[in-house]
Symmetry: C2
Amino acid sequence: MEEQIDSVGKAFVDHYYHLFDTDRPALSSLYQPTSMLTFEGQKIQGVDDITSKLNQLPFDRCRHVISTIDSQPASVTGGIVVFVSGSIQLPGENHPLQFSQMFHLSPTLQGNLFVLNDIFRLNY
Amino acid sequence: MEEQIDSVGKAFVDHYYHLFDTDRPALSSLYQPTSMLTFEGQKIQGVDDITSKLNQLPFDRCRHVISTIDSQPASVTGGIVVFVSGSIQLPGENHPLQFSQMFHLSPTLQGNLFVLNDIFRLNY
């Protein structure tokens, strides 16, 4: 069970940042109308507004490098919390930016996981 | 609703780190047998083992300074996720350690919130 949670968390993280770095509009597939994103303190709700925010960030290309992934079961119904630390390399910047991000993944009625809670912070 | 979530998150964070810095054994009141802590990648489950871990950290006194608190509702049943960034000043250390921590607070049958998920990472 514990190993399964770790695998699911890692698979999600790999998928999420791969999409972010190569096909950012496709991240919309991971959110639902009830999803919430807090990005550097700004609260955004719903798949449309979250997707707009992510696609309008002031950089076109970026590369995430993940340092740590910690996953835990978050409910008896199959939810998972995933905590990520890593860095983002932006084009034209010498130094990567350190960040931390947490996701609360919740099962849909169909049994797939979607991002219910997403909180992102740069580490200064 | 949104302001209420922020207030509850901030009240929890103030209470948690105040206990941590002044009466660490009392943190046991915030956990339950189903609680999980991942501390720097080490997974610990249950109020007894979590309390032991926190009380056996290799420093007696410390002082947390909180930089950011982001809170979101995490379920229709009253759960909350809280994401914290800040620093820890240890005795005899010149520089504080930066950390990020997330909590998933879940309601007990009595309606109080307890820490179901707790993930802590130092930021290097």
